[in-house]
Symmetry: C2
Subunit: 414 residues, 2 copies
Amino acid sequence: MTITEIGRQAKEVAGIIGIIGSAKKEEGLKSAAAALLEGEAEILSANQDDVIKATAAGMSQGLIDRLELTPRRIEDMAEGLLAVAALEDPVGEVISMKMRPNGLTIGQKRVPLGVVGIIYEARPNVTADAFGLCFKSGNAVILKGGSDALESNKAIVKWLRTGLSRAGLPENILQLITDTDREKTKEFMRLREYVDVLIPRGGAGLIKSVVDNSTIPVIETGTGNCHIFVDESADFDMALDIIFNAKTQRIGVCNACESLLVHRSVADQFLPLLNQRLLTKSVEVRADQEACKIVKDFVPATEEDWGTEYLDYIVSLKLVDSVEEAISHINRYNTKHSEAIITNDYNNAQKFLNEIDAAAVYVNASTRFTDGYEFGFGAEIGISTQKLHARGPMGLKELTTTKYIIYGNGQIRP
Amino acid sequence: MTITEIGRQAKEVAGIIGIIGSAKKEEGLKSAAAALLEGEAEILSANQDDVIKATAAGMSQGLIDRLELTPRRIEDMAEGLLAVAALEDPVGEVISMKMRPNGLTIGQKRVPLGVVGIIYEARPNVTADAFGLCFKSGNAVILKGGSDALESNKAIVKWLRTGLSRAGLPENILQLITDTDREKTKEFMRLREYVDVLIPRGGAGLIKSVVDNSTIPVIETGTGNCHIFVDESADFDMALDIIFNAKTQRIGVCNACESLLVHRSVADQFLPLLNQRLLTKSVEVRADQEACKIVKDFVPATEEDWGTEYLDYIVSLKLVDSVEEAISHINRYNTKHSEAIITNDYNNAQKFLNEIDAAAVYVNASTRFTDGYEFGFGAEIGISTQKLHARGPMGLKELTTTKYIIYGNGQIRP
């Protein structure tokens, strides 16, 4: 099948699922979850093919771990679909409705985006997750997974489609692009006629390639060079707990802390305590000259460190003279993801909240909370680091748009 | 100055104007309006240079009319800025704020987009309008106008910047790209590092070029192949009034009606009346075979007509058997702008509202109402025909984004 045909098929069913109502979608999600469990053996076997191939090709153990499925992981996927089924359906909500002086009644109603395209890397569980969220919000979805997970994705999609079909729903609600040719991926990114939004999920390279090549509107997700600023008035214990949590609780995620700013006036007292705490997880601290003088374990940072998302047990550190200097440094080097200040000063807290340019700005809490579940959305399709349409964690609502519905009784424009 | 420098300067001031508060912005807009009036003679003289050049180059009278400024048009621009100054400032509104079970208080706050780029064609009044709306919503703006209006735009921008400066505001809130080289325009479209959104305003060609070349998120505006469906149960007088208004009140605009669908069962009675009414403005009706048999004045339509935005005294017409056929035809050929049904049937009205895929869907009213002023926004930067970020008329609110502000007291993620 050509990429254009896939697009056309998606557009065709999008019209239907946008208006079928919550009950039918819930039935489809439950049926898809059941089918996934039924297909377990086949999915595991396909996944083993991927794992063997990836191992032979020298894939790192970390990536193999993300690629490999287990019965438990398949159960998790199925449970994920049931959890999404139980969420409130955003579609159909009339956000506002007002009467104009001429009697026209203008309402703004939440409707599905239409067709959502997702380009992602090796984790096959994204296949079921992304399908669930897009379908629940009334969208058809076209997935393009990484070639390393191709057999796994094929098997997962086959069983999800079987579930849809058993619920009397069109299988083309979910389509997978199985052609791993790069030119085909580029063709997909230019399918503006049929695809309403493209969401890349993966590393910086993938996202850049989508941004550069897509003519479809893109929601950029992902990279997070997140900072924590320890202000003069910070509670040291709180600062140590938050930094330790944000840096080490999970290192490979976009809301992990990558850079620390410390007020110069507390550096002598705070840095040795920080060093002690971070050493318990062997975190390497790449610090400016002055900080290196205070703690011998620190290694000198280069200019490049200020802009680096390590995703590792490494953190950069810089001393600053004021909250203003901290804000200016962060706004220069951050990726507009999540930033935190640790302070007991009211004015500095407010200043930081107002002036930092990022999707999520924290006072006295870990950056690790930037997450659809932690924010109470019950789901997450990704974390937007751009400003258009959605900013921060994206749940079901962010997978919808609106249309104006206007009730008249013969109004014409004077 | 290079395009990159312009971008960097805009980004620099964006940080400042995002937080200066409404009063200062109002002062800046008033000062800019006053400066515009002060510069009238210089602006008119620059505009005459453009008009003379355009006339010599053979520009059509219609386009010259759009290009030419008069003292009245300059007053209108200044009044436009004062009207925008008086609108409610969307920036700073906290849309929602909730406490999570762990005590984190998460708010979603409206903030400026940052830097807005606008690429537009010959009308120089857009220069002042776009500046006013972008600045009021806290954004820096980079304008790239059509080369035909270059001297006019330079003069307008010079005086607007003078007004900003007199109010103690940075002039770089407003910058104009004066280099008309195509490569520079392409460079501008790829300035993703500094520009947060790009809004093309103009014909289909301009919009396509921006969509194809931009790496900056784009809001597509403009083209409208708008339909009116006359249902079996329609009130004929109402249908005639609405069609006449939507087709002829102003022909060159995106919310004008371009295509009619008429229920076959009323064609014999309705079409002659329609013909009579449209003949009063010499509207050419390009109709399907069957309709042509009923009214001899109609001319045969081709497949191409169904997809054409005429922007002229021409309308296409097709007979259909049902509301379903009307919906399916519209969803196939429309540009997702504005669509209307004329009916007295409750179920058909609801079906049409639910199933038409467009920014604005009307029952018993003219499509000409799709407009920021008519919708009560007090302003309009354009009409979005895409689904991401904004759909339909865009006012000040659509020139903002949000950020999450999170108040904690030491929370870490378990």
